[in-house]
């Protein structure tokens, strides 16, 4: 597995970036201490490298705080909103989806109509209204983002499992008297998983952007807490005078999501029994190998 990862250079880089990101999010705030909130209006909005000291290599923000320190602290907030939101909607959505798709009939109809209800209410507006009613705390943001994204997984999982339910091997398992929950977990889930993971990485990106849009509308993460989305939003008014305020957090979002997407693409191949062999080939051979692959095993 590790060797397989090592052969795919972009995936390796992506994995390293994500590992670094997680390490920063977990340990960074401890190292940074209070720096992220240390205001000093006398050195406000200084460009990168203008103030001495490693803390200020990315400049200072409109209140004289180190942009680097804030990025580090924001990494934790951002991940602790995005990751739980994605996981909750992934787990809930795919379980319901597989269950609905496997059983078909009324269960499917009910699940799909519920999904329709959530989907037809624009998710950003739903978040806005809900966060007006309840306070915009990190927990509420996670919950409302998770709720609005459940239908995405639900529909994907349902479509795939409905298709699988008619396949021979599922039929076989059924005739042998296996319980439906066991069939779903043992036979349906592994095949649906790669697709769901791909969706989840795209959603990871979506959730970070949604959190940022919420900040733009004034009901995202509330100061003195800070997230990347909030930093981009706060920095947008200074675009012409201090581009680094919104550029670096924006870059952080892009780097995180691109890495996640690259890694997910790799993981999709690695977990797909029919495609895994490709990763064992050196890159140059792989290009030629794709148009005419060997017989697929299903």
């Amino acid at each position: 597995m590790w060797r397989m990862l090592w052969r795919d250079k972009p995936a390796t880089v992506a994995a390293l970036v994500l590992t670094l990101l997680v390490l920063v999010a977990v340990f960074g705030p401890m190292l940074i201490g209070d720096e992220a909130n240390a205001q000093d209006l006398t050195r406000a909005s200084r460009a990168p490298l203008e103030v001495d000291g490693w803390l200020y290599v990315l400049g200072t923000d409109q209140l004289g705080r180190s942009v680097l320190a804030r990025l580090v602290v924001a990494a934790r907030t951002t991940l602790s909103v995005a990751v739980p939101a994605v996981l909750i909607s992934l787990v809930v959505g795919s379980l319901i989806g597989m269950w609905a798709g496997y059983h078909r009939g009324w269960r499917e109809t009910v699940a799909m109509r519920v999904a329709d209800v959530i989907l037809s209410f624009p998710s950003l507006l739903m978040a806005v209204v809900v966060l007006y009613v309840f306070s915009p705390s990190a927990r509420n943001i996670v919950l409302v983002l998770a709720l609005t994204r459940i239908p995405i997984y639900l529909r994907t999982a349902r479509a795939e499992s409905a298709e699988l339910a008619s396949r021979l091997f599922v039929d076989a398992a059924r005739t042998f008297g296996a319980k439906s929950s066991a069939i779903i977990l043992r036979h349906v889930f592994p095949i649906v998983l790669p697709t769901l993971l791909t969706v989840a990485t795209l959603e990871f990106c979506f959730v970070m952007l949604a959190e940022s849009s919420l900040s733009f509308l004034g009901i995202g993460i509330q100061p003195p807490d800070v997230s990347w989305g909030l930093m981009v939003s706060q920095g947008r008014t200074y675009l012409q005078t201090a581009w680094w305020l919104s550029f670096f957090p924006g870059l952080a979002i892009v780097v995180a999501t691109v890495s996640a997407t690259v890694l997910a693409a790799w993981a999709r191949l690695a977990t797909d029994p029919g495609q895994r062999w490709r990763l064992t080939l050196p890159r140059r051979q792989r290009r030629r190998a794709v148009p005419a692959p060997m017989e697929e095993v299903r």
Binding site: V117, L209, L239, G250, V290
Partner: protein
Amino acid sequence: MLTFLRKRATTSLLPLVAVLLGVFLLARMTGDPAALYLPENATEAQKETFRTANGLDLPVWQQLLDYLGGVVRLDFGTSLRTGEPAAEMALRAFPATLQLALTTMVLAVVISIVIGSYAAYRPNSLADRLASFMSMTAASVPDFWLAITGVWIFAVMLGVLPTSGVDASMLSWVLPIATLLFRPAGVLTQVVRGAMVSALSAPYVRLARSKGADSRRVVTDHALRNAAAPALTVAGDLAVGLVNGAVVVESIFGWPGIGKLMIDSILQRDFAVLQAAVLLTAVTIFVLNVVIDLCYALLDARVRDKALV
């Protein structure tokens, strides 16, 4: 076909009522509009008069019944802010958003098919990796940041585009559409590429190739059709998601669309307008989903036919 539509319409009615219920109750929880519409030191009696005049003094369930009764008669209430019928305001704002969204989606589909299949045909080439990287980046940039950067570069620095607003010239469309386009185009390109790579390696495509079909026809006839199904699902979700983008983009560019109307009516606690606007978008999204399902069914049938041959 007709039975499908009829069944779909009847099963869809219930969710629509659920959406309406949801927005009605949520809106009522955001606070009392009397504080917003009356002077700061209005007396309790004045507030009472205001609430009575606008039916806000009744218990919520009774307000709901009154409202639903109105909806059946196609009366969606009047705006607290302007005194106009809420439905009229929503319908007036709707085309502006629809135009934006439709143009964006058509462009996104075209761009993603062209770039996605080009990249998939040469997997792991430089062009493929570049396309993948660009599309991932495009999909992960916050839209409001894009919008403001776009205004700065193209209107302020280069002076080639108007900053905002809607007018007769198509130039004012460029920045809002470009802003909205980034995410759907980026996501769809990845989806099309992924689906095409799988499709191109599927047995029947290899069969077609071994039969001597030329490669361009293989891409267009076989692979693309197979790639269409997953792309369609994602495209549908993205189209729905455009309403979110519209909230942000319309606010920045002063575009008088339904996204702006909804966010304004939340801020103004203008419940009737919010309800009418949400209902209108919900109906649109339903129609969209039905269309997608129909396409799906059509596509499925064709794919099966081909596969059987």
